[in-house]
Symmetry: C2
Subunit: 285 residues, 2 copies
């Protein structure tokens, strides 16, 4: 194992993901500390025995002794934290994150970071529709993807450590993509789907529609119940890639509309056959 | 009970829905006959004891003795059948259907139908991603909507009988809408969602995306596996109502795109809050 269990891990931001990380890593015997904004989160995590120590203050000693620091924060708070507090980090520390967008974060952090500390970015593609450490649960990593997004500035050792971290956390698929590939993929698979769901949910406010709702509409709008603070930030942080995906979608949707206007059955059937065939690839294996 | 169990029911089109109707109604003791295109469907249904008799031919005696005829056919085949074979129907028979669009069917059938026969239209909002009588199952009616769409030409008796049929079939919600209200509702809740799903599934053919797919994308594209023959016909049969819903969606989606271009966080958050609030209405009760 590259990641030695004698290493001290600090989690900054003990919410749903940070708490689930703590839960998963504690089982291996790592020393886990946490810094977060609410004392109730610390109390809960200590009580559940998923962290060894925790604080809501900027504890220089706790920060200074960590070998691995995992940032589970909103993107702009992560950047602010590094700008303001990186002097407290231990020389040689490895830092990683959980941010759902990469190009706009990775290069910025690597640019401003001290040269004796390495940042290797990762995106754990897991979540729930609830938040907070009280809902943390490392079972959500089973069957999920963990994507490491290295750049030219990363060492092979850090990349290997981060990949191993993903395996220790219990992710079923641990892989690497460039930040650019990552953002295109996430723009399409996750952000575009959320844009569609919130649009569908708000484009027709007619009363009593819910009385006739079936499973199809419910499936397409499940994620229309959305954390507006987090997702508006994530959309803007991935603006160019998301706009590109939105345009691909609009163009195709307009094609379909034209087929309907022209009653072009052949073209519609061809599109539906394409859709049916391609959907088979996306079944759960 | 308005619908007397001594009445003879004929089902024309013994597929998934027709078979499920037969299954549900047989329990009450109705005499059920069926006309369909494949002998294997008849054999299966006789063997399962969900019909009393069945044929693949145009059996004048079987048609002529039916008090209630349920058409579970594709829209254009239903219209053709009435045009060609209505002379065989019993005087005083009540006919109904399962068609998923109403304005383009109901008025046409009522216009061409003999004056001694009444057509009362209904839409059972239930289905599965499989077809054929072999997959028939009346459990899909539980929790589902059955919508009767009367016109000025319908008698109160026929409307009551059709509503009772929906209850006998086991539908949880049995109600009436005008054909116009029905088509708007179905255009939004069902057809627009299918348009979105097939567009999302075909707008980006990049390889290997499936490796990173999560539940959100899977949920939004479940119905992208689609019966192209049936849905292209249903889309065209509801063209004006569906185009209106597509336009509502495109306009809202373009609004969101503009918000993103302008990095208008407030507008985006407001839209997401609207979406979150409205989605709560659509939860399963």
């Amino acid at each position: 194992m590259i990641v030695d269990v004698s290493k001290k891990i600090l989690i900054v931001g003990l919410g749903l993901l940070g708490g689930s990380y703590a839960r998963a890593l504690k089982r291996f015997g790592f020393h886990i500390s946490a810094i977060t904004k609410d004392q109730s989160s610390i109390d809960y995590a200590l009580n559940e025995n998923i962290i060894d120590e925790g604080t809501t203050s900027l504890d220089e000693k706790m920060i200074g002794q960590a070998d691995i620091v995992i940032f589970a924060l909103y993107p702009h708070i992560f950047v602010q934290w590094i700008e303001q507090n990186q002097s407290f980090l231990k020389s040689g520390a490895l830092i990683t994150d959980v941010t759902g967008v990469k190009q706009s974060i990775v290069y910025k952090i690597q640019d401003i970071l001290r040269s004796d500390i390495e940042f290797i970015a990762a995106h754990p593609m897991a979540g729930l529709e609830v938040s907070g450490v009280e809902n943390s649960n490392d079972k959500m990593f089973v069957g999920a993807n963990y994507i490491v997004t290295p750049t030219d500035k990363n060492t092979p050792e850090a990349i290997s450590s981060c990949l191993e971290l993903g395996k220790l956390l219990g992710f079923s698929n641990v892989t690497t993509l460039s930040p650019e590939e990552h953002d295109e993929m996430i723009g399409f698979l996750s952000q575009l789907t959320h844009c569609i769901a919130i649009t569908l949910m708000t484009c027709n406010d007619k009363e009593d529609m819910e009385k006739f709702t079936g499973d199809s509409f419910r499936d397409l709008t499940r994620i229309a119940r959305i954390n507006d603070l987090m997702w508006s930030e994530l959309f803007i942080a991935n603006k160019p890639a998301l706009l590109e995906q939105m345009n691909l979608f609009i163009n195709k949707f307009n094609d379909l509309k034209t087929m309907l206007e022209n009653e072009d059955v052949d073209a519609m059937r061809k599109m539906m056959q394409h859709s049916t065939k391609r959907r088979a690839l996306f079944d759960k294996k």
